[in-house]
Subunit: 420 residues, 2 copies
């Protein structure tokens, strides 16, 4: 079985565990979650890794290179899912390096650095809204307040962790000394249609987009659908419709070509067929590879909304609900990863990641790179319909190994250069 | 107390009865409904009318002119309400002719026709979705199937009527011989802002708009709000937004200037902030004074929706949920009513009614005219915030009496002309 086939098979196997029998839902510390953790631990052991489960439930497999002063390359992703998610989202970034570690062990190849494969217990925040719970402690970004959060059944996160044999009070101690780490690398399915559309297998991430979100409320004048002539209306619904179209047009026209804007929620509040809408609400989600273009787009969109509201005689209010800065990948690593991909005759497309990933958290403290793998089936993700091919997984594994070797060469060259 | 003040006071008094203590809700055959019916009966008796309660619960007060072969002018409106409705909607058209009948009795004036004031028990259809229940039997438009409808508590209409001492099997017998009737006349609060905006007290209705409704569904492609570039999106939400704006623009530009179009419901289905909308639904409600302009507008709107769907790569489907033809008022009566209004030095604005009224039902079989009275408070209706002034009520009563006198003169002239 090729490495690509091993990777697909491993994701299929993990995908059999689910909190709901008909879907694919793995919430932090559920029975399915524990089963996936146990299976990952077993796979790591079988690949020759030394495995620990840390205080937050991350399963960490270590492949030492034998040099006592060697730095460590962290690589991994998360194994929890959204509600009814995909089999490759997160898990690909765990099983691919496990497969490579097995290959390194079997071939006897030793990289000039220690390798740690991190299977992060939680990134999606499905159960406790605690996104990046697994990766944040490693870079000192853990927020202890989340331990007091409760799930939909009223269970406190702290108690759920204790029941699972974890150590909530030990989480703060998981912080790694950045000086001991070479950096962080993550392989992830693209979760979008860009590579599929371009007919390319792999993409080199340049930046993880920041996100800004607003909740918007338009208040107009409700009225009888038959008795108010068009020129006398102050329709909150059509005003909001014009606003979301203004956002769409602004994002489409952005010169950076990386800005995306979404009105994921849009509703006429208490709407009735025969009543002119008196209130409408919608959400704005704006992202871009860099914060500058994103913030300029947001300012323009809010200005358009205000102008539309003024012209239509309705009121407009928006509330900031989230603002996360973009995390650029480390330029030298991006170049090295692109060279590794190009070494196989592949296009090495550079692209931003519109979705957040553990790499975003790790990149706040460490050198960081990320490889995207083509997402099949129209690019659908966060859905059981998410697919990828063994051939693409094989290419991703090969490019990853080439990238690691180049990192090793650079690490070995550096002292030589320092001595020159 | 002037007639205008009497009218306002009567509506205020009736408005104290409500099914919900804090609002104004009077559902067919509720305790509040029975109390309003009893109070109307009492007021009719006090005004010198001979009162009957018919099989459906309509309270009918008759003022005979003394000529055995005289035709009857029917006038009235409904006394049920929508949920949390207004004090003048419907009731104005009952208490105004009661006040005029009292005035005729007190002054000794006799019109050359019998007058019947009909307080229709049900028009809004709140409890059993049986709109025009009160008026439809009089013109042979009663649909006996509604007797088997149940309310939200599972009570059958037929049983509710029997419990209230009414005679469901007698409803079909309420049909009046059109030859015995002069026609139907209704005074109603405008329920819109047109007269208020124009600074005019009264409006002469030319036609009761027909209504056509569609439920529309747009299916696009759901996707991650961060990972799908703008040019690759098939966003059902922005597609639907463009469609409702196309409807708005088409109605605004209609040459007839009476077409109104409303998307009263608009929703991204299962929307989430970080998901590109995969499905959106909205409703279309189109009305016009005449069916031709309305139907041409609908055809254009649906064509625009299909064109937008094609251009955006989404699917569009619409389902007809209601189609009611417009009911024109009787031209000679419109002219006579306009002359009566103009006789008081008022502008006599001619305007369509965008809302349905008992006059729509009665106008299918009889000569019919309708007078609108200015709605205060921005034109809000179907709300406890609905208001009108005693001065406007006074003008409406005066114009009504003048109109009745002109009808009487025409009725008396007609035989003379026939003899010439």
């Amino acid at each position: 079985m090729s490495i690509g086939q091993q990777i697909i098979a491993a994701c299929e196997r993990l995908g059999r565990h689910s909190d709901d029998p008909d879907g694919l839902t793995v919430a932090y510390l559920s029975a399915a979650h524990c089963a996936v953790a146990a299976e990952l631990k077993q796979a790591m052991v079988a690949a020759g890794l030394a495995v620990t489960v840390d205080a937050v439930g991350n399963v960490i497999g270590r492949l030492a290179c034998g040099r006592p002063d060697a730095p460590t390359l962290l690589t991994g992703s998360h194994f929890d899912t959204v509600r009814n998610g995909g089999r490759f989202d997160g898990r690909l970034g765990i099983v691919l390096p496990i497969a490579l570690a097995r290959h390194l062990n079997e071939s006897g190849e030793r990289l000039p650095f220690d390798l740690e494969v991190a299977a992060f217990a939680e990134e999606e925040g499905l159960r406790f809204a605690s996104t990046f719970l697994g990766s944040s402690p490693l870079v000192g970004q853990f927020d202890a307040n989340v331990l007091e959060c409760t799930d939909a059944s009223g269970v406190r996160m702290r108690d759920a962790m204790k029941d699972a044999g974890l150590d909530p009070d030990g989480i703060a101690g998981l912080r790694r000394d950045p000086a001991s780490l070479l950096g962080y690398y993550e392989v992830h399915i693209e979760q979008g249609p860009v590579l599929l559309h371009a007919g390319e297998a792999l993409g080199v991430v340049t930046s993880i987009a920041g996100c800004v979100r607003h909740c918007c409320r338009v208040i107009g004048t409700a009225g009888h659908a038959g008795t108010v002539p068009m020129p006398l209306r102050h329709d909150a619904g059509t005003a909001a419709a014009e606003m979301v179209l203004a956002m769409e047009a602004r994002c489409r026209a952005d010169p950076s070509a990386t800005v995306v804007g979404t009105a994921g929620r849009f509703e006429v509040v208490r709407g009735a067929t025969n009543v002119i809408p008196g209130e409408a609400q919608f959400t704005i989600d704006l992202r871009a590879a860099e914060d500058g273009p994103r913030d300029r787009a947001l300012a323009d969109v809010l200005l358009s909304c205000q102008e539309i509201a003024r012209r239509r005689g309705v009121s407009f209010a928006s509330e900031l609900t989230m603002k996360v800065p973009a995390t650029p990948c480390t330029p030298a690593w991006v170049d090295a990863l692109a060279a590794a991909v190009a070494g196989f005759g592949l296009p090495a497309r550079r692209m931003p990641s519109g979705a957040g990933h553990d790499a975003m958290m790790m990149g706040r403290a460490l050198p960081m790179a990320m490889l995207f793998v083509r997402c099949g089936n129209g690019g659908v993700s966060h859905s059981p319909a998410e697919t990828m091919t063994a051939a693409d997984a094989e290419l991703a594994a090969a490019a990853t190994l080439a990238f690691w070797r180049s990192l090793g060469a650079a690490a070995q060259d550096a002292p030589d250069r320092a001595r020159e």
